[in-house]
Symmetry: C2
Amino acid sequence: MATSSNRYRADLRDFRFVLFEQFKLGALLGSGHFEDWGPEEVSSVLSEAYRYAVEVAGPLGPVGDREGCRLVDGKVRTPSGFKAGYERLYAGGFKSLTLEPEWGGARAPKSLAILVNELTSGPNAALDMYGGLTLGAAELVEAFGTPDQKQRFCHKMFSGEWAGTMCLTEPQAGSDVGEAATVATKNPDGTYAIRGTKMFISGGDQDITENIIHMVLARVPGAPKGTRGLSLFVVPKLRLDGTSNDVKVPSIEHKMGLNGSSTCVVNFGDDGACVGELVGAAEGQGMRQMFQMMNFARIGVGVQGLACASTAYLNALAYARERKQGPRIENARDVDAPRVAILEHADIRRTLLEMKAKIEGIRAMVVKAGWHHDAARQEPDASRGEYHAGQIELLTPLIKAYASDQGFRIAELAIQIFGGAGYTQDHPVEQYCRDAKIFAIYEGTNHIQALDLVGRKLGQAKGANARAFFGDVLGFVAKHRQHPRLGPAVAELERAANAAAAGALQLSEWSTGQLARVSMVATDYLNSLSEVCVGWLLLDAAVLAAEALPAVAADHPDHAFYQGKVQAAEYFALWVLPVATTRLKTLQHAPTSPLDIPDHAFAGV
Amino acid sequence: MATSSNRYRADLRDFRFVLFEQFKLGALLGSGHFEDWGPEEVSSVLSEAYRYAVEVAGPLGPVGDREGCRLVDGKVRTPSGFKAGYERLYAGGFKSLTLEPEWGGARAPKSLAILVNELTSGPNAALDMYGGLTLGAAELVEAFGTPDQKQRFCHKMFSGEWAGTMCLTEPQAGSDVGEAATVATKNPDGTYAIRGTKMFISGGDQDITENIIHMVLARVPGAPKGTRGLSLFVVPKLRLDGTSNDVKVPSIEHKMGLNGSSTCVVNFGDDGACVGELVGAAEGQGMRQMFQMMNFARIGVGVQGLACASTAYLNALAYARERKQGPRIENARDVDAPRVAILEHADIRRTLLEMKAKIEGIRAMVVKAGWHHDAARQEPDASRGEYHAGQIELLTPLIKAYASDQGFRIAELAIQIFGGAGYTQDHPVEQYCRDAKIFAIYEGTNHIQALDLVGRKLGQAKGANARAFFGDVLGFVAKHRQHPRLGPAVAELERAANAAAAGALQLSEWSTGQLARVSMVATDYLNSLSEVCVGWLLLDAAVLAAEALPAVAADHPDHAFYQGKVQAAEYFALWVLPVATTRLKTLQHAPTSPLDIPDHAFAGV
């Protein structure tokens, strides 16, 4: 009964708005690091990525889901077409955009790369991950490897000829990475014998690339306990002479979604013949090295959530435009009244507007992180550089956790808009929902993000990053409090921002001696602060849209687009932010029932 | 890596608490309609249903999910073991508890039957639905059929020998049931020739029972448009002489979950040879008849949500007790600190307490609906009977929508507590989550429930039902406002209840002339009113628990159980209700952005 085609959708008009109108990327282009880039180059890359998304990755989305990965004779078979899809991903250059020319890159702005990532991930997160993890692994070698390691590994990894993985998790060491027990014993030739079991390794095996380069956290004998004792190793599946390196995949997971991405248990050195190389020259740097790459890996997961949410929304919107059901509510009792598209029903409109507002606000938030990176590159003033770096630090946990949670929730709303049809595989939204759940778990669960926010980021640089953030928000408020149209919405933002600032102070007080209370409210705080940020960026966009509107002809598509920006911001500020404010105030004197309840009182069994 | 067994869990202590301590079911037993029932009989039925759940239905849960239903040569094959499971369901008498002895029933209280339904549905909603729909279909015949129809159909349907279905939806007629186009043309012998296509028919075909009795809404030629022109027909798959009745299943749906339940397209009369019987004597009564059965069908869907949520919670709790990860947060920097069960982490405790509070509050809400039914039976005073019937009317949309939405959400939280393991099929929670999504859609989408609440139930009996509800809540508040422990929590309930009452007045004003605004806020209103009800019932339970506590020895399991009741109510009142209050206040002056935004402003594409 499919009435919508099973396809990926994206709103490139909004991409251009966020990049050029809201963040004024144009001002950073055409000189310095971005001298080869102008607005046309940016638009052209977006169009090409969109074509790849619709023509290549999109059609493989349901194939990957239905076929899934299989383990046959110890080797993973990926779904039909994934190898060809991966090759097209690399042929398009979408995974090397920001790299230096030395590595086949184009020195593209990070803010653009992030939106290209939305386009490559949205239609098929499973396929995209093989490339995303490869890029992350190669960037680790490039950042911390010896010159010789870079030459031997980076060319083939950045080009996608070899894939890469991140091997952190072990059965007993999930969120508690420091418990990792994989052992690396130095060989006389300076290499290391690796022995241990890693699990939940995405792309741990596949039949797409001729080799897989595993980045493995392991412990040298005698190293300290905890994360301080971990070192990072390059462990190829095949040694560079093509022989086996004793890396085995005994099993893969059967999952709720993301079935096209292989999730593997990987055994290193079962037969005592696994050889790895220390990344760089010093042992014990593994966590520091991983952490340095972690911000953009986490932002990447947020982008997965955004991408899923956005295509789910646009599919639901298309369905709402064509599916007719019932008359307008004013004619509910008139059996002869014309049946209307469900887009005409108020609840559908409210649901869609909430989805739209959250998606566009989250998109602005991820582009903001990329923009800070790009602006810092072009910024000669060191203190401004610190400001930009600090905002990326602060935004990272918000983006990872809020965008991934909303990715799932918005996909759920999309199912609801489709009704019974959305629960079937005739439409893509149920798969988006299943795929999205893992985004809240991997790359640090969302509560780990919340702890990162309240335990680390809020107080980072003696609180300067958080102060700068609230300063930016309240500066916007001061400037636009009297806005003729958006004034009341800006006032709601002010209330929410003040409650968030007060909450930060409260958390800081609790951080000496009452750490459990901090942890208890951290998730609520992260969600609320994310909504302050999203509300701010939506209102910032709405102010620009309201300014632009008078000059746009009423029949120009931009007229509706700008109206949409104003309505979305107003909805979010007046409907969603009051709840965030209440949550922020509540958590400052939240009862400690979760801490006080005896363990055996959770259930009568 | 499964560390928990893949099994159904239930907290029977809470079942007994709600039935006997909170709703004092004992007072209704032992006389009149329930003369054969006492507390021991109730406990014994619960224990037997729990044994069926754990031993029979539970193990078939993942089997049904992985195998799914298949359509082979036009016939549905259900998963392995489903036929035997269905027979055990009926052998246990769990689908005939409330019936009269004439039909093999035991005249059990509805409040008990609802909790038995939680036990039979929770481990395997797909399997349970074959029986649930059969019971609903048989009750329709019993309520509205001719004496002859009752004799021919009810015995075999109530006993489960024949199954039943509800055939309302058609491709163009989902929420808009009145658009149904299936035609019933009277034959000279008084039967009707049925012709049309129904879709999303649960159990539309299966290989479990020898016959399937379809309850079909259809339109007699010349009947009025809309729901007024619909009549209800009994249409067996096989005529009672055993020959085919021209009922075909051309396709079944492939779904996100509930895979063990066949979801069928059913064609009636493709070859002009499908014969149906009008239910009762008069045409045009179809919707009225359906509606009369709808309350408990909808409550049944709420119970599906509750059941899913509860077993997801108890599985997550069991996992949290055994899974060790990280030290206590106070020792975060001490690598030698002992690793603790994740139940010790504040965020896990808060998440579990939120799940527990919602589940126990929802359970009290569904039992309340059953209790009103039971109390009315034993009530000689007609005005009290109206009060009870009115509360069932009012509670029905809350139960259906809130419990189904929370079923999905709580299953999601359970996945999050399991972390990566929860995303795999090694644990049951991801299936609970996938199964639960449909509960928000079928039997009237949750927005249809919201419209039923704000458009029908709030104003029903000239508002008497709603006034009685708020009167009950505020009566409780007046009585317990000074409670030494729970006073502040009761004060939060008062604020929320007053906001909900004010919201009802606002909705009533909008209902003349501003219907779209009513629809726009209906879902938020339903959710908030549900939380008022849940918060009230949790606090009511907590008051009882606080009274009981001093007399219970500290090492008796009830001591922890009652403490849990107090903590859950406090958490919900002080952490969740303030948000509901804000939402209720917000929607009274919510912006009309969802109505104002132009259709083409939802996206720039």
